[in-house]
């Protein structure tokens, strides 16, 4: 097997090794990259930023640990902005693994806010975590009528009517927007049943592979912003002024993409150099 034939048929284990090393090295070596802010991320930031203290948004966290790297930093950055601006947050998790993710995100965001400002955010006053209920489409429609229909009590078992923050919040009419952070098809239900049925302003944060699916909704105005994958999370972290895991992750992602492009180029050189010998076979 000559050099070009080797380029054409590199064993996949070499690809794995090269990618693994590239990820490891880029994690160890400190360097920075610019994070340009897209219009669709800026829209979400601006929308939340112009809310008055005491106004509320609904943060729908529908993801599981598999998409944690991309979506968790988005959640933390959005919560940070809401807590800093004194915007009330209604939180739901309509994925079966969602409550664990949401509870962890709330704990982290509350602790960080406390650390930064010395102000303790309280459940029931500054945020309300409603938890999980099965059948997302039905729950989304139900909350549009009244949050108390699917969720008479919050995640911790406290009745909604007894929570100060929920006194003025009955349904989507009383929240300024819904931001859905999702790694599942729940986003489709929020678009169809949340925005479509109740006309509530909706923005989404989704994984990188999902993002392209939702650009048509951005163009039609059904959603007012998209945070797409790690890039979207890094943009929001930059916007709220606390570069974190997403910004760090972007460095790794760029190096990983570089390695993938390198292998694509090698594969194509090998392909064209050995095509005649292989009799034009693919």
């Amino acid at each position: 097997m000559n050099f070009f034939e080797k380029m054409f048929a590199i064993d996949r284990r070499w690809v794995y090794l090269a990618l693994g090393l590239a990820i490891l090295i880029s994690l160890l070596i400190p360097f920075s990259i610019p994070i340009p802010i897209s219009e669709e991320a800026q829209n979400i930031y601006d929308y939340v930023d112009q809310l008055e203290p005491g106004q509320a948004i609904h943060l729908a966290l529908d993801y599981d640990p598999s998409t944690l790297a991309e979506l968790h930093p988005m959640t933390l950055a959005i919560l940070k902005q809401c807590f800093a601006n004194d915007v009330d947050v209604v939180i739901t998790a309509l994925h079966q693994f969602g409550p664990g993710m949401a509870a962890a995100a709330i704990d982290t965001a509350v602790a960080r806010h406390d650390e930064l400002t010395g102000e303790q955010m309280e459940s029931g006053e500054d945020y309300v975590f409603l938890g999980y209920k099965p059948y997302p489409a039905l729950i989304i429609l139900g909350m549009g009528q009244n949050y108390r229909i699917p969720f008479p009590a919050d995640y911790y078992g406290v009745m909604l009517d007894s929570l100060p923050m929920m006194q003025d919040i009955q349904n989507y009419d009383d929240v300024e927007a819904i931001i859905n952070v999702s790694g599942t098809s729940a986003t489709d239900w929020w678009i169809a049943y949340g925005q479509g049925r109740y006309n509530v302003p909706l923005a989404i944060g989704v994984t990188g592979v999902m993002a392209t699916d939702y650009y048509p909704y951005l163009q039609t105005g059904q959603i007012f912003g998209i945070l797409g994958g790690l890039k979207g999370a890094a943009e929001y972290e930059t916007l709220v002024g606390t570069p974190g895991k997403a910004v760090d992750g972007m460095k790794v992602q760029i190096v990983a993409h570089l390695i993938i492009i390198l292998f694509i180029v090698i594969g194509n050189i090998g392909y064209f150099s050995t095509r005649k010998r292989r009799g034009g076979a693919v």
Binding site: L19, T67, Y132, Q145, D213, N268
Partner: protein
């Protein structure tokens, strides 16, 4: 009767769901709450019980007969029992620290690791698949590279690269996605109509 009763139920409830979506009257909201919000979870609980019983029976049988990879069945049973026990009301229910611990230190690392492995498979697949074998394959290859390099800091080329990637996402990608979405939407409407009107009956089985 065996066919007509389910067909009638589907027809009435199907029409009701369409009606209540477009008519937000108190009565339709009350009926929606009663029919759509209360019933499915009740049915779901029975389906869940059925699933758990079936899983336990199959797993116990595999452990007893020492089938191939019976150890996995044992792990399944232990995991099921541990999660179920920790979530019981006497141990604090869904908010119990034990449930959160199991989620944070077992479920989270396992799921995140499984998904992270995809990066390696994608790299290997990209190396093999993105080859300029034809005009269409070349277009796919170029699009992939353009979208991947849009985040690269490349000095004076950064902005043109990002603009090109945005063009790929906002025009060819958007057109294709919109066509697919409209097609899927029309498909869903026609299938729903076929089910409501009793034309599509495969959900009832063969009897």
């Amino acid at each position: 009767m065996k066919r007509q009763i389910p067909l009638t139920i589907i027809f009435i409830l199907g029409l009701f769901m369409v009606f209540q979506y477009f008519v937000p009257h108190e009565t339709s909201e009350f009926l929606y709450e009663f029919i759509a919000l209360d019933w499915p979870p009740i049915i779901g609980v029975f389906a869940l019980a059925l699933g758990i019983i079936s899983l336990v029976r199959v797993s116990i049988k595999r452990v007893r007969t020492r089938d191939e990879n019976w150890q996995y069945a044992l792990v399944t049973l232990i995991g099921l029992a541990a999660m179920l026990t920790a979530g019981l009301p006497w141990f604090g229910g869904q908010t119990s620290p034990v449930v959160q611990w199991q989620f944070d230190f077992i479920m989270r690392p396992i799921t995140a690791t499984m998904f992270s492995l995809l990066a390696f498979f994608i790299a290997s697949a990209a190396y093999r698949a993105f080859r300029a074998r034809s005009v269409l394959a070349t277009l796919l290859l170029l699009s992939a590279v353009i979208v991947m390099i849009r985040f690269f800091p490349m000095g004076p080329f950064t902005e043109p690269a990002a603009a090109t990637a945005d063009w790929v996402l906002n025009y060819p990608n958007l057109a294709a996605k919109r066509a697919i979405l409209i097609g899927v939407g029309l498909g869903i409407v026609s299938t729903a109509l076929k089910i409501i009107l009793g034309v599509e009956r495969s959900y009832m089985g063969r009897d």
